[in-house]
Subunit: 579 residues, 2 copies
């Protein structure tokens, strides 16, 4: 607060003006997308911003209604009540409340790491598919057709079967709004730049394009009284600020909504933290991921109490806030004040605003989320990750957002566990003339037929405990000459109790079949932990400080021979590839 | 087949006799535990053994009904139908069929690694809690009280409220059977050994103890006609072999039973594979985990078709089979033949067998599964694993087997992801007089204020991608002097697409704030994969072959100084602890 001077104040004020201009039509549009009355979108853009300004650690994050979470809210609430009923609104508010509580509890328990369960390909696929789904769902409003559905086939079927009901007036307004928005987004900036406009002025004008589209189409709608001729308009918006109230306390409703609330919380948090971190890093600022959970939780609870719905940190508006020069969280508080003024004064003027204009706003906003080029890029880098992305996209489009995100999370975890269940295990031998040991499949190295030396390139924990057992048993069973097994552990950072039991079993089984088990190059912390068990007393062999020590003791002939042989020249590249 | 001579034949035959003696009362008892008619237990001990003998890779594994799976079957089927009804039997058969199909599909798709999702502490806790639950559930039969329930509180409440209905005759028989079994298990062996009996003879006699208990209590029950005076007896068992039939084809039943079938499949498979691997390792034989899935799947399908219920590889009977000298899968086939003969001839004689005797058999068998001493041992080694074990035990006892195992699996995975989401990251500096780099928190090493060198002791994948970003941003934000960040990657075995995107983001953000990102000591396979992306072209800095190369280029002053200083003497122990 001390350093808050006039320069900072005016920077924050300017950013707030620009963000508010962008936020008014977006709030109305996203409320429409969530199936809620337009004022709910406005309410969700006031109290949450104030709470985030107090609790958040990002200086430039702008919270409020966003496209993907609005779609998820509509899908979750749509299963419990019909759109337009008080129950629908009540359920949406409960969803925000519960999501806020979940985020708050996760923050207090420092469970931010749970967001890591979503891999990037899954998030990227989910966002792309959601963008396509949202754009498709808004086509009906542009055409003047009542079409609904939560999956792509359902939406498209609805549009095709009702194709004859297209309303020319609505379509014309929708295309006009779409045209204005796309033109402002692609052409207006360069045009103004060519005329020598400054950065800030250009930004205000281009960000105001949605407002212009709103004004122009509203005026046309009013002039021709299109609302009375079948075009869907926003209609009466209750003016005045939201009055705080607790959401309905129906336990069965809360229980039904718990799982969607968890999913929305995680998706919202991932979006928030990604945006906040990206912007903070640009200015070498820090954010605290667990505190962000608390702040986002608080924002959602505030939204629910003030009659709003689920909110999260939006990418587009945060970048706008950042680019417009916001320096402190006060910018968010100023935005809230400006939104309140808008809510008090503008609602009457929005009566004739066509819903087609709002849908055009949504379509232009979400198509920037669609990134289909990521797919071939991810696929080329890792076919497994590419497959996870394809499955997430397909499931989201064909089965809806909840199935899509749930399947994505499960798939990420299964692929991860599959990979970590098969660590790289190499049989190693001694490089002549040195104390180095290398993979026998890649190098000319010396080995002893009585000693099997295995290097494990991974920590040992339950997903790979059985694989470790299998690897050792298979090799020992295949070669009756083996008398000693040495596990070389320089890359083993931890051994959990499952892996410890596996090692105990290996030790016991090998001993029963006349083979001794040794360890080498065990790290300090791992050794400390092993001392807490009785494994080291049970171990049939020894723990060697180095693999060379092990071979000197177990295969002295080989060591002698290796010492006499000159080291084969290995290029540096080869040495690196050998690991 | 070629090497199958008379010695092997007689060894297998002897093992079959011993296993059959053990299996007859156990099959009846476990059918009782599963809430099924006694003959279902016998049927489950015939066809599955033949199928396993053909498909299995373990030479000594004995499949059939086992305690934990019987309890799980009772819990799953009990939700859909009342015990004693044809629907209950039908559902149990569908459960076996579905579990068999799941195992078969997992085997064909080589999904054996899914069994790794169960960590040892969770399995151990689950088995211990199931043992306690089973023992408690059988107390009612010993006391002559009808008490049921699927959780410990429910069972104990039932026993306490009906305490006045104890039947003295049933209790006397139950205690007699319990006494005989415990005596045979603890005293008989040493007694016979002291009298100079041979190993095999001792084994036959001690294994026959349950048969003796069955005979003695059946004779008493028959002599006093206790069945007519309130003692529960086995009653009429249809004699004759099972007739093959398909299970009922009711889609809604199959859908309801799918999840329990999956759980039973995984638990059964884990038990089977653990036993098979332990026994195979003792004789340096190999088993194929994916083929075991196929074999166990086939055994369950065979069980369902021949009127049996879910089976798995039993620990006790496999060890008996192994110790009795079984050499080939033919021992299992011989057991099946002997069980068939038993089913054809013995059923009439078992009419008066008291259920209390079977319950005594179960109690003695399952108490050997209870291993409460594992808990302090695991806790001492790793409190996290200990907590997972406690939660699994508590959930199984208080909420039942399905909740217990489900919670255990989820908890294992969450703990694992939590651990892998926070890999060890060390800031490293140069050991004077060498090209070695060590953790600055543990060693006196040289660093440059403009260069941050981070060594990551873990592969980079989505659970730790965000942590990596946080770690770098936090350190760079805290120290404005930093101009270069070098990631030292000798322990990075893989970089998945999420981590690649995190690295791309780090590279871009650092570049925006005037810091250059470098990599050093990247492994060959990781480098190959990075070349498939455009990360290396985007990278603001370089990829150095060694950390020493990186420092020579980025901080030549420091390198010069380090070279002149003599290396501080570091003991070998210290060097090891340094990793």
């Amino acid at each position: 607060m001390r350093g808050y001077d006039r320069t900072t104040l005016s920077a924050d004020m300017l950013a707030a003006v620009i963000v508010t201009i962008m936020l008014v039509p977006q709030s109305l549009a996203y409320a429409l997308l969530a199936g809620l009355p337009p004022e709910v979108g406005l309410y969700a853009s006031i109290a949450p911003l104030l709470v985030y300004a107090v609790l958040g650690t990002s200086r430039t994050l702008a919270v409020g209604p966003v496209a993907v979470v609005s779609l998820m809210s509509a899908a979750a609430v749509g299963k419990l009540a019909a759109q337009g009923t008080p129950e629908f609104l009540g359920a949406a508010i409960v969803l925000a409340m519960l999501s806020g509580l979940i985020l708050l509890v996760m923050g207090v328990l420092r469970l931010g790491f749970l967001a890591s369960f979503l891999s990037h390909p899954v998030i990227s696929g989910f966002i792309t598919a959601s963008g396509l789904l949202i754009a498709a769902s808004q086509l009906g409003n542009i055409l003047g057709i009542k079409a609904s559905g939560s999956t792509l086939p359902a939406i498209l079927t609805g549009l095709v079967t009702r194709f004859g009901q297209i309303q020319p007036a609505t379509l014309a307004l929708g295309l006009l709004a779409l045209g204005m928005l796309i033109w402002a987004r692609t052409r207006l900036g360069p045009l103004l730049k060519a005329r020598g406009w400054g950065e800030t002025q250009r930004q205000i004008v281009t960000r105001a394009a949605p407002v212009a589209a709103v004004v122009v189409t509203t005026v046309i709608s009013w002039a021709f009284n299109l609302g009375a001729h079948g075009t869907s308009i926003v209609g009466t918006i209750p003016s005045g600020l939201p009055r705080p109230a607790l959401p309905p306390l129906d336990p069965s409703l809360w229980a039904q909504i718990a799982l969607p609330a968890l999913m929305i919380s995680i998706v919202g948090y991932v979006e928030t933290i990604s945006v906040a971190q990206t912007l903070a890093a640009r200015r070498r600022q820090r954010i605290d991921p667990d505190q962000e959970l608390v702040a986002l939780g608080g924002a959602n609870i505030a939204s629910a109490i003030s009659g709003g719905y689920a909110v999260t940190g939006g990418f587009a508006r945060s970048v706008v806030n950042f680019d417009a020069g916001a320096r402190t969280p006060a910018a968010g508080a100023f935005t809230a004040v400006l939104m309140s003024i808008g809510t008090l004064t503008l609602t009457g003027a929005l009566y004739h605003l066509p819903q087609a204009t709002l849908s055009a706003t949504i379509i232009v906003a979400v198509l920037s989320l669609v990134d289909l080029r990521a797919l071939p890029r991810v696929w080329r880098y890792s076919p497994g990750d590419g497959a996870a992305m394809i499955v997430t996209i397909a499931a989201t489009l064909l089965e809806g957002v909840e199935t899509g995100i749930a399947l994505g999370v499960i798939l990420s975890i299964v692929i991860h566990l599959y990979r970590s269940s098969r660590p790289h295990v190499a049989v190693v031998g001694q490089v002549p003339g040195t104390e180095h040991f290398r993979n026998i499949d890649r190098h000319r190295v010396g080995t002893s037929s009585a000693v099997l030396s295995l290097r494990i390139d991974e920590s040992l924990y339950f997903p790979n405990a059985r694989f470790l057992e299998d690897s050792i048993y298979d090799r020992v069973a295949a070669d009756p000459e083996i008398r000693h097994v040495v596990l070389m552990c320089p890359a083993v950072n931890a051994i959990d109790s499952s892996a410890l039991e596996a090692l105990e079993a290996v030790n016991a089984q090998l001993r029963d079949s006349g083979v001794t088990l040794h360890l080498s190059e065990v790290k300090g912390p791992v050794m400390d932990r092993l001392r807490r068990s009785d494994f080291l007393e049970q171990l049939s062999g020894e723990v060697f400080l180095s693999q060379a020590d092990a071979m000197a003791k177990l295969a002295p002939d080989l060591t002698e021979r290796m010492r006499r042989q000159p080291r084969r020249e290995t290029s540096r590249e080869e040495a690196r590839a050998s690991s």
